[in-house]
Symmetry: C2
Subunit: 526 residues, 2 copies
């Protein structure tokens, strides 16, 4: 769950004569430097090793997509987008906006902006679009009487659940429940999911401490009303440096990505963070030193979670399978297995945050499946590509009384209905398999570019299409993203100097070719 793009003022335009005139020569037109904005990308750039491969034998998941990006305006954002954002800015802050979309014209992997520029979208509404723009399956579902009913009669699921809710849960979330987790708590967004999961962890810890079926003491009940101990206990969730788990007060105390996300906001000062492995890529070429780095981090993590005679007890540990906002940082299955062993050893609950990694992009439906844990996590949280949010858990993590982990809506059935449709499409077209296969191709070819332009891009890494690579500095990264966008390819930054790829599940090799061609162009121009 990560949200920050590159820091860039959208209303400051790049011009063709600056960043976007590719200094190299166009293949087949040796004396002409291409103006990338005046013509369709495929014809104006149409060169590369990648575009020639076509991959025309692949089954199309989306019908009616354009053949490639198309940039029409001399500056990005173009004049209409600029005006549109300026107008919106009178009501809401738009400084983070990089684009204003024309959703009528967007389709599949392609997003169109207000100026008619068409981009191949590898960022996809911050990694949250699963099936592409204007998915036919989702449109059909939107028109169904069930969807209309749930849209106009939004239930308070905790007090007045509707007759079909259990069936919807079974057809959606429960049909892909991680092994060992038979319950689902439905929520509204990634931050709320993580925070309600933390609440469950705290209540479980206190319940065990006072005896599983014991009454809550009057002292606990009276002191909590004043935000004081022992009723409001000094307990902690542990997280990792570089981890991102949301932006509300509890989740933000477990987020450790960028200072601007955290500064000025009161935090739980005893909620500790432990270093996450800082590995070298490609992983298989640096096994010995990576093993050492993981062992170092595990030792520190164990030290922090070990019960102490004084200090704040660690109730749960939250971890992303791949740190996303923090810079696409990976760790080995062995690391996670040993981390799980440590949580078991020290009575700490393990929460796996699959808000960004879940629902297929890594080539597994849940990224943590690849760890082959001997004991499943206690809680797995989700949002984004499922459109719906929430967390899976063991039955023991229910509270001892109703209303304790509760809110008005308790999730949203329309998003659960969409999750059901998304799952149906994923299964029908083996979109998880597609992410694995397309990702393998993408990684191989990106590695080739990495080797071809040493010192330009580095540390190509990823699972499935959930990939990233580094640039030397934050500035060169920001420039790379801008240049890709000018070539009609939308990506996002993560960490201090990485670019992350978060394409949809319908991203295929033919789309990868266009992306790879653009990357090579930018590398050449660097």
């Amino acid at each position: 769950m990560a949200q920050r793009l590159i820091l860039r003022l959208p209303l400051k335009s790049a011009t063709t004569t600056n960043a976007f005139r590719v200094p190299g020569r166009v293949a087949g037109h040796p004396n002409r430097a291409p103006l990338l904005f005046s013509r369709p990308f495929a014809t104006s750039v149409g060169t590369g090793d990648y575009l020639s491969r076509k991959h025309s034998d692949q089954k199309d998941f989306v019908h009616g997509e354009p053949s490639g990006p198309k940039i029409l305006t001399g500056t990005i954002p173009g004049p209409k987008t600029k005006a549109g954002l300026q107008n919106l800015d009178s009501l809401q802050d738009t400084r983070a906006a990089t684009m204003m979309t024309d959703l009528d014209k967007s389709i599949g992997n392609y997003v169109v902006d207000l100026d008619g520029n068409t981009y191949l979208d590898l960022f996809c509404q911050i990694a949250s679009l699963p099936l592409g723009y204007n998915s036919k399956a989702l449109i059909d579902a939107a028109k169904s009487s069930e969807m209309i009913q749930m849209l106009v009669n939004r239930p308070a699921l905790g007090v007045q659940p509707h007759s079909t809710w259990a069936k919807t849960l079974e057809d959606s979330f429960m049909s892909v429940a991680p092994k060992g987790l038979t319950q689902v708590f439905t929520a509204m967004c990634g931050s709320c999911s993580n925070e309600t999961a933390y609440k469950a962890a705290f209540m479980y810890y206190q319940r065990n401490k006072r005896g599983f079926n014991s009454e809550i003491s009057n002292e606990d009940l009276s002191t909590c009303m004043k935000n004081s101990g022992p009723g409001s206990p000094d307990l902690a969730i542990m997280s990792f440096e570089g981890g991102f788990h949301g932006r509300l007060f509890g989740s933000l105390s477990t987020t450790h990505t960028k200072a601007l996300h955290k500064v000025d906001i009161p935090a739980f000062s005893n909620w500790v963070a432990s270093p996450f492995p800082n590995l070298k890529y490609p992983l298989d070429k640096h096994q010995a030193e990576n093993d050492k780095e993981e062992a170092r981090c595990l030792a520190i993590a164990e030290d922090k979670m070990r019960p102490k005679s004084s200090g704040t007890p660690i109730v749960a540990l939250i971890v992303e399978p791949i740190q996303s906002e923090g810079g696409d940082n990976h760790a080995s299955p062995k690391f996670f297995q040993e981390l799980r062993n440590l949580t078991k050893k020290h009575g700490v609950l393990m929460i796996v945050d699959e808000v960004q990694t879940g629902v297929g992009p890594t080539g597994d439906f849940w990224a943590h499946e690849a760890w082959n844990l001997t004991t499943p996590p206690d809680i797995v949280t989700f949002s984004k590509k499922f459109q719906a949010a929430g967390w899976y858990h063991r039955p023991e993590l229910r509270t001892n009384a109703p209303y304790r982990n509760f809110n008005t809506w308790m999730g949203d059935p329309i998003r659960a209905l969409q999750a059901k449709t998304i799952l149906h499409e994923i299964k029908k077209n083996d979109l998880v398999g597609n992410a694995k296969e397309t990702g393998a191709y993408l990684k191989k070819e990106l590695s080739t570019i990495e080797n071809k332009y040493p010192g330009t891009i580095s540390a190509v890494r990823g699972r499935g299409t959930f990939m990233a690579f580094d640039l030397p500095t934050p500035e060169t990264r920001d420039k790379f993203v801008t240049k890709l966008r000018a070539l009609g390819v939308n990506t996002g930054g993560c960490g201090p100097h990485s670019i992350r790829l978060r394409p949809m599940l319908v991203f295929q090799k033919k789309h990868a070719d266009i992306f790879l061609d653009a990357v090579e162009k930018v590398c050449k121009s660097a």
Copy 2:
């Protein structure tokens, strides 16, 4: 924003021979005690002072409603509802559920359960349904191409807003923006709205402290990454005892209703609460002592918010116009005006939480309009009846840099489109005026019942249809709610021993008559 109903296990049934056989006599059938479940309510009870009035001259807002409630099963919940909840309980905790709804059959003010029982609904999915079940206007909106587009292409509004978003904001939230507040931050639920508003308040405070256009120091940036001061500052939001502002970690630290909402969850121990006036009702009959009580509370509030040489600075104060979950506690416009003066005097921001009171039920669109403040609040938060959530604010409360108060979706355009439809219906049918007029009638008649059955119900109070009354104890309150439900009227509890009425905006005098008749029946049977 309040969510707790009466504590009651839904699967434990009441039986006709117990709670629901009304001991009094049926008017016109002097020798027969009515069996309330076997026949339509209107014919089986059909007696009272109220039902005879009919109010047939009123324009109907909803077509196709039944003429009254209808209870078919001998126990509530009935066997199908029991089985349905039991089935759902294998996946999710259902202990708070009082009903399982059949939304196909529900219409307008009437909700139908799985056993075919029809209830007049005065609780309305925890005060969140604005136009009634299966509203034709909302169904038409759900079928619109704009709604379908926004449903299937859910945008990350902060980075890729769509072309029609500004227009949607203008047609929805901004068309009813509270005086003086020109900006709207869109969110997903009441808790998130309040928490992002708190974040804005903290950032604004720190910005002013360091100089409005000054840079953030490196010390602040580095320490916040460890959840330590000065970057993670010791600052507080002040709230009121009995206030409810949400259930996530920041909002829960400002919630002071029931201990079970708060116990076992770490809290910000320096976020103080001040007593809210404990007034006597009816307000106009106890003016002198109520004035004194308000003055007492204002003095304590001022003492807490006054800047001190040490201790945690109070950055903002959050207050509900009517404490809802806390027991429908009122205060006078003068109290709020003086509170506003105090916040201005001591440099504390004023956040008005209109999550439950907003969007018409009190007879004003925003409940705080009735205060006639000389200076508007700094922030007004909303959710529930708007379906969409968020907060209005002054432009100065924007952060100094993008991404600081941010998340993936930043609200939801489909809910904003619904808000637009809701507003259209409110204006077309003057539903705020209807709430005022129906509420005045309801209050007058409830007061008559209160006087007729002294010691049974008391403290009838409210604005518009946002009403409540007290029972002597929590137990008698819970029993009263259960008996009303058995008579086909769905209400909810609040505070220790109150019943709150949260009907829809399409609740009319004819519905009030049915409710009043049921209340009188239960009073008679007490």
